[in-house]
């Protein structure tokens, strides 16, 4: 195997006996030991547990048992997922004092039930209130395409680990863009499913009514494979929909014939770097998209998402802000304290606006099956960079990397972020969002697969 082998072919090789799960895991742990000191993706490894699972898989195969579709595939999770035996950090110093989790998060258990092997927990922005991938406690997770640049956040370690060839699949969370932003900056595929599709049981929350979990991978097939393995209702998460598993893999190669696709205009055409505009142009061209569609009041939707996030996030951490404020990452602490001061009438108006906005946007899907829009306004900023210039305006990086993702997760629509490689003078990747109606992840994945097949979207391999 190579560090760049995809999960689907790895699992096939393990199932056929061409390679063993132990050899895959050993190579993965060696790779992490060599490369992660530069990337800063991992905060904990569970090597002994992983080796025990790999040995059990190999023994099961030797005994003639059928192995699952993810047999022997190493994966890692953002450190807000519960992993039995580890405290669930959620990127914080404060949570290091928590008791270790006694069981795995539902999604970890579901991937392992299909044969995947958890190898560790990943770095992230503190308490997920972040778009940069920086962390004052663990150091930044770095962009594999340029170690001096941001991975994007808050699932920064997930982006670094997958783009850097440490694991083929990682899980992240996305409240306002925290899967799609690192997918964009690191040049990999990321799926934020419909709100309520995947169980959040056993994960540390941020903003309950926005929080989503999902996979990041270097191929669309791996994204679909892991997504299918994690679907299904879960009584342990009251927000998880009681929908049956709707597998996306069988229709993945279905192409785009018959799909009505439009490009988001208005808000999504403004404040773009040349690289973001070119990437969206390239995706539109490859899909034959000429129609444009206005997502109404997208700027106000972003504003309302910001209000709800800062207020709910602040309220979640109210006691910790009172008693342990010095222990927060300063960038997180100051935002959360301000969030606690959000006037209540504005928060309630934001929730009322949310319903109105959802009704308007859902009507668009009478006319189109999918909408494409940029994922981030720029390619990866430099680590530590506080401001960037977009469309002649100087804006804070931390708050604005998610300006195009926030209006979409605000109403829980499914999105695949697809990477367009080698944009601009720095030859960095940048993502484009493929957005569909609720519960139509299959459409997002089909379109992403079409773009991958035609070479427009692909996860570039970093130079090491």
């Amino acid at each position: 195997m190579t560090p760049w082998q995809d999960a689907a072919s790895l699992a096939a090789a393990v199932r056929s006996g061409e390679i063993t799960a132990v050899s895959v895991l050993t190579a993965t742990l060696d790779r992490i030991a060599r490369r992660d000191p530069a990337l800063g993706a991992f905060t904990a490894l569970v090597s002994a547990r992983a080796m025990a699972r790999a040995e059990a898989l190999d023994a099961a195969r030797a005994a003639g048992e059928a192995l699952g579709p993810l047999a022997g595939v190493p994966f890692a999770v953002k450190n807000l997922f519960d992993v039995a035996g580890l405290p669930t950090l959620a990127g914080s110093a404060i949570n290091r004092g928590r008791a270790s989790a006694t069981r795995d998060a539902t999604l970890v258990a579901r991937l392992e039930a299909q044969g995947a092997i958890l190898v560790g927990a990943l770095n992230m922005g503190e308490y997920a209130y972040d778009f940069t991938g920086e962390n004052a406690h663990d150091g930044p997770s770095r962009n594999p395409h340029d170690l001096g640049r941001m991975s994007g956040g808050s699932s920064g370690g997930s982006g670094s680990a997958v783009a850097g060839g440490l694991v083929p699949i990682a899980l992240g969370s996305d409240t306002n863009g925290s899967i799609r932003v690192p997918a964009s900056l690191c040049g990999i595929f990321g799926l934020k499913p419909t709100y309520g599709r995947l169980s959040r049981a056993g994960s540390f929350p941020f903003v309950d009514s926005f929080d989503h979990l999902g996979p990041l991978a270097r191929t669309v097939r791996d994204l679909a494979l892991s997504y299918d393995a994690m679907q299904g209702p879960d009584p342990a998460d009251p927000s998880c929909a009681r929908r049956p598993v709707e597998p996306s893999l069988p229709g993945l190669e279905g192409g785009i014939g018959g799909l009505r696709i439009a490009r988001a205009c208005g808000y999504f055409r403004q404040g773009l770097s040349p690289e973001a505009a070119l990437a969206t142009d390239a995706v539109a061209h490859a899909l034959g998209v000429t129609a444009e569609i206005e997502i109404p009041e997208a700027a106000r939707a972003r504003a309302a998402a910001y209000l709800i996030t800062t207020a709910e996030g602040g309220a979640l951490h109210l006691d910790r802000l009172r008693t342990r404020a010095e222990e927060f990452d300063p960038d997180t602490r100051d935002r959360l304290i301000a969030g606690c001061m959000t006037p209540a009438p504005l928060l309630i108006k934001a929730q009322k606006f949310r319903r109105w906005y959802q009704q308007q946007v859902l009507r668009l899907f009478d006319k189109v099956d999918a909408i494409i829009a940029p994922a981030t306004p720029t390619t990866a900023p430099l680590l530590g960079q506080k401001l960037f210039s977009i469309g002649g305006e100087t804006l804070p990086v931390r708050a604005n990397l998610g300006m195009f993702t926030q209006p979409i997760s605000f109403i829980g629509l499914p999105v695949v972020a697809v990477p367009v490689p080698e944009m601009g003078a720095a030859r960095l990747p940048i993502g484009v969002q493929v957005i569909a109606a609720p519960w139509r992840e299959d459409i997002c994945l089909r379109i992403a697969r079409h773009l991958e097949q035609h070479g427009v979207a692909r996860a570039p391999r970093p130079v090491e």
Binding site: T194, R322, D331, D334, R335, K349
Partner: protein, 60 residues
């Protein structure tokens, strides 16, 4: 709002909520609160009917 007005708001809310705010945190808190209020004004100026239902527990 001016910086002084924002500082008075921060001081009053900090007392109410039980926060001890160090002087070197103030500038960032003020900047974040200014963004909150700017975005709040965008939401506030959008007319919605009295019957508009909020969506605090969301179902897609």
């Amino acid at each position: 709002m001016t910086d002084d007005e924002l500082d008075r708001l921060i001081d009053a809310q900090a007392a109410l909520l039980g926060f001890s705010i160090r002087p070197d945190w103030r500038e960032a808190i003020r900047a974040n609160l200014r963004v909150t209020l700017r975005f709040g004004a965008m939401v506030d100026t959008f007319e919605l009917p009295d019957e508009a239902e909020p969506a605090p527990v969301f179902a897609a």
